[in-house]
Amino acid sequence: MPPLHAYLLLSAALFAIGLAGALTRRHAILVLVGIELMLNAANLNFIAFWRYGARPEALTGVLFAMFSIGIAAAEAAVGLALIIAVYRHFRTTTVNDVNELRG
Amino acid sequence: MMETLDQLFVLLKRWVVGEFPAAWRLWLSPLIDAGAIIGVFAGLFAVTTLLERKGLGRLQNRMGPNRVGPFGVLQPLADGLKMLTKEDIVPRAADRVVHFLAPIAMVTPILLAYAVLPFGRNLVAVDFDAGLLFFFAVGAGTELAVFMAGWSSRNKYSLLGAMRGIAQMISYEVPLVLSAVAVVLVAGSLSLPSIVDSQAGYHWGWLARWHVFTPWGLAGFILFLIAATAESNRSPFDLPEGESEIIAGHLIEYSGFKYALFFLGEYLGLFAVSALGITLFLGGWQAPVPFLAWVPSYLWFGAKLLGCIALFIWLRGTMPRLRTDQLMNFAWKFMLPLVLVNLVVAALWHGTAAWGFFGAGATRWLLGGAVLWLTYSALSHALFTAPGRGPRTYRYAD
């Protein structure tokens, strides 16, 4: 069994990768993908802390991760619907080009 | 004696693994499982292609293949040789890496799904506590493979086929999973062997306690079959590869061995989903009548599997293909409400299990059946036979 900090470092790395992508990529879908990656990194942390925690039989980490997955699914659905709506309006999915408030 | 025969493969594997040093056993056991699954089901694939072609022929008053070998039994061999010796063509504009990976991404998840299916008493590779969820989770991987195949070919027909395929698979996954959830609700477990165990025994000593003999089980099984047909892209839901419209859908630009892999994946998916249907509704490897319980369990499973395959071939030989809008309407407006009602009926069935008065079973059956039948009639009337929605009338064509 690898030590806890291995999981924490992996999670931090995933979070940083997701953050870098969300900050640098211009495509709206990729920004969303970066956010999904960050959420997943958080999930990994939940599970790792649950497994290495004092009372794993309480299942808190697992349950929290499941709720988080559910919320991520909702977020992805709404986010992608927004991207499609934006595309219909502006005919582009590049976030830099969608900077006007007027339609 | 019969006990040994029933557990033949389990004992055989235990003996083979026992012959090897302890360090190897951890690796050897799953390797043997995987090898057995691939060998048996690839063989079944070969047999099924022949049976399907023969059966379809007979359903349409034709002979079917009968040229290679006696009665054409060597036809799969000829087909295989032809596939393997064909030129492997990759379009110049294709994304070569994704194009190459797509068939692999198609077959691997389906083979993984076999790991949790119980083929006989104790004959299951891995007994996950959440086996059913595992099955559906890996099954989801094939959708991505369809997209990979369709997009990487750089062909508008293949992209259209892939979009149709993904839309269809997502839509029909909902009724598929929900009809399985009804079983989970009653059996109280996600593990497939314990779902089979929950169907053990016989009512009054002769009627098997399979879920298909309950009102929600019968409806659930039919809904499951329809959704499974759509999931495995078979006729009448074969729109993704409807050859008269989009040639072969996402398979257009595949030839030779890669095409054979897709073909194999399609059939393996069909077997897997049939095996799941058997496990959930038809009592898995259990014998249908108590006096035949001495027949080895895997033979019962095989017989049921062949029966399911025959049913799919029969459906394919009978039904015409749906239109895309009909397909989507059917999934979302007809099957989804029905499967939700079915879930409620299953919950009622489970809740009234404690009823003990005389005729309680018949009352429950009639109640559940009536609710389902009323829903079915109302839905089909509202969707198909209500004024303005009935069969199309042709003013000038007649």
């Binding site: 640098t24 497994r51 559910g70 595309y87 | -």
Partner: protein, 167 residues
């Protein structure tokens, strides 16, 4: 166990990096799916079977497919490959590296670093379900409500504006 962790970690990180760095959007999505599968493997390794399968079902089976559909509907799949080597881009990477450094330093500095796992607990689906139905029934209902709202919201957002005649 250790080897499995490192292999899975390599797959996950490679998938994530590729998902964020490849020029073609479709490749990004496919690599994202690989990263998700790697994460599911980690969950399995940690003994959270149910979460692992749910992860594959939701992320590979739903989110990745949703992304694919969004890509096809916005015609981004055929967009020319776009690399990001610009000043704001570098700035973003710098910020991310900084964040990673902070997190790593915190992890290394905390007392948790060397903690070993207690014996594996028995996690049955039944236990999970009982928790969800007893202690966590309110959050469960809220998530259900949220998902329904998200479903309806997504449909309304993506619905074509017929009344306006489309813009």
């Amino acid at each position: 166990m250790e080897t499995a962790f490192y292999v899975l970690a390599a797959v996950t990180v490679a998938g994530a990096v590729a998902a964020m760095a490849l020029p073609r959007l479709v490749h990004c999505t496919l690599c994202l799916a690989v990263a998700f599968v790697g994460l599911a493997g980690h969950f399995l390794l940690l003994g959270a079977e149910f979460v692992s399968f749910a992860q594959v079902l939701v992320y590979v089976g739903a989110v990745a497919i949703l992304v694919v559909f969004a890509m096809l509907l916005t015609r981004s799949a055929d967009a020319p490959p776009a690399w990001v080597v610009s000043r704001p881009g570098l700035l973003g990477v710098g910020v991310a590296v900084l964040v990673f450094g902070c997190l790593a330093a915190t992890v290394a500095g905390s007392g948790l670093a060397g903690r070993e796992a207690p014996p594996a607990p028995e996690v049955t689906v039944k236990a999970l379900g009982e928790r969800l139905m007893a202690e966590y029934v309110v959050p469960l209902e809220v998530v259900g409500l949220l998902l329904t709202a998200a479903l309806i919201g997504a449909v309304i957002l993506a619905l074509e504006d017929r009344a306006k005649g489309g813009t």
